[in-house]
Subunit: 225 residues, 2 copies
C-alpha cells in the first residue's frame, strides 16, 4: 500500500501541513489511494529511512520520495494519466506559482495562525514548535496575538493575483485544476485544520475557487490514517 | 505592414509602456516584424478606429486587436509556430503570472518611477498624466519624491517568487522564454526607458534572468518607429 507521512496535531485527524495537503489532493487528482500516516514534529527518527527529516514523504512500493514538489513530479512521471502539469512549460509556470505561494501567501497566513497551530500540538511538539519558530522569527509566539485585522487586510491584498485569475477562469489550471491549484489549495487547508479565523470574505472570488477545488476532490480526499 | 501603436515619451525613442513591451518581445519571439508607431497619452482620437483608447493596439492586415493579453492570444492563434504558450493549461498559469505582475510588481515599481515618467513626457502629456494619476493615487506626484530606499526594499521583497524561480530554471517558461517571461520582462523595460534608478542589485538572480531575456531577443527587438 502507498504511504504518505503526514504532519498531525494532537488529534490524529488534525492534518495541517500545507505541503502534505499538496500531496493529498495531487493523489486524489490522479485517483490514487494512499495511507496517510500521522507524524509529529518530534518524530524525526521515524523519517530517517528517507534520508531527511521533513514531511511529506511518499513511500510507493520500493520508491521513497520526499519534498512535495518532487513528489508531484514523481507522480506525473510514474502515473502519467491525469497529469498535474500537461507540458514542461506548464510545470515551469507552476514553479512560479509554488514560489509565490511560499514567499507571499504562506508568509501572509502564518502570523495569523501560528498560535492556533501551537495550541493544536502535543506538549512535546509545542516545545519544539516554539523553540524553532521563535528562533526563525526572532520574536515570541505571543507577540503575534494582536494585529489580526491588519494581518487579514495584508493577506487579502496578497491574494490579488489569485483573485483576478479565478475571476476569469475556474481554476489556476484553466477549465480543470492543475498542480498549481493543489499547491495554492494546500495553503488554505493549513489554517482550516487548526483555526476558526475566517480568512476570506464570503463573497471573495477566492472563496468560490476554494469551493470548486474542494468539490472537485470531495469524494477522493480521505483523512483516515 | 503590421503596426503596433506604442506609448512614447517626449522623444520618439522613449518607449516605456510595460504593456506595449509585452507585444514587442512577443513579436520578436515569433520572429514577426512590425512598425511601432509612437503614440502619446493625449492622442486618444488616433485610437478611435480600435473602439477603445489605450495602447497597445495591433493592426495586422484587416485585423485590429487591443489589450496586450488579447494580442498575445491573437498571435498564438494566427501564427502558431513558436508558441508563447504551448498548452491551454500553460496559458492559464500564465494568466496568474500576468495578474501577479499587474497587482504586485507594477504596484511596487510605479511609485519609484512615476516622477521619472512625468519628466519624460511632453508638456501636454504631463498635464494629463498628473491629473489622471493624482486622482487615482489620491496624492500629488511630488509626494513620491522621498522614500526611495524603502520602496526599493519593498520591490526587492516583492520579487521573491520570480527570484526563487529563475534560480532553478533559466526562464519562467523553463528552458526557453514563454509568454509569461514577456509579461514580466515588460515590467522591467518600463523603468529602464525613463529612469536611472538601479532597481536590482547586480548579483540579484532576477538581473541574470533579465539579461537572458534581453540576449534571447537582442537581434529581433527593434525600436525604430
Amino acid at each position: 500500500m502507498r504511504k504518505v507521512y503526514d504532519l498531525a496535531g494532537r488529534e490524529n485527524e488534525c492534518r495541517f501541513s500545507p505541503f502534505c495537503w499538496r500531496v493529498r489532493t495531487a493523489l486524489a487528482h490522479k485517483d490514487l489511494d494512499a495511507e496517510f500516516v500521522p507524524w509529529r514534529f518530534t518524530e524525526k527518527d521515524r523519517l530517517a529511512f528517507s534520508g531527511q527529516d521533513r514531511v511529506p514523504v511518499l513511500v510507493d512500493g520500493d520508491r521513497t520520495v520526499s519534498d512535495s514538489w518532487a513528489i508531484m513530479a514523481y507522480l506525473d512521471e510514474t502515473y502519467p494519466e491525469r497529469p498535474l502539469f500537461d507540458s514542461p512549460q506548464s510545470r515551469a509556470h507552476g514553479l512560479f506559482v509554488k514560489h509565490w505561494t511560499e514567499t507571499a501567501l504562506h508568509q501572509a497566513i502564518f502570523p495569523i495562525i501560528l498560535l492556533d497551530i501551537y495550541r493544536a500540538l502535543r506538549p512535546e511538539d509545542q516545545a519544539y514548535f516554539r523553540e524553532s519558530r521563535e528562533k526563525a522569527l526572532g520574536r515570541r509566539l505571543e507577540d503575534f496575538e494582536g494585529d489580526r485585522e491588519a494581518r487579514l487586510t495584508t493577506l487579502r491584498r496578497t491574494l490579488a493575483p489569485l483573485r483576478q485569475t479565478v475571476k476569469l477562469q475556474p481554476f489556476l489550471g484553466g477549465a480543470e485544476p492543475s498542480g498549481a491549484d493543489h499547491v495554492v489549495y494546500g495553503a488554505f487547508r493549513w489554517p482550516q485544520a487548526v483555526s476558526d479565523t475566517r480568512l476570506l470574505e464570503p463573497d471573495d472570488p477566492v472563496q468560490g475557487w476554494l469551493n470548486r477545488v474542494t468539490a472537485a476532490y470531495r469524494d477522493r480526499v480521505r483523512l483516515a490514517a
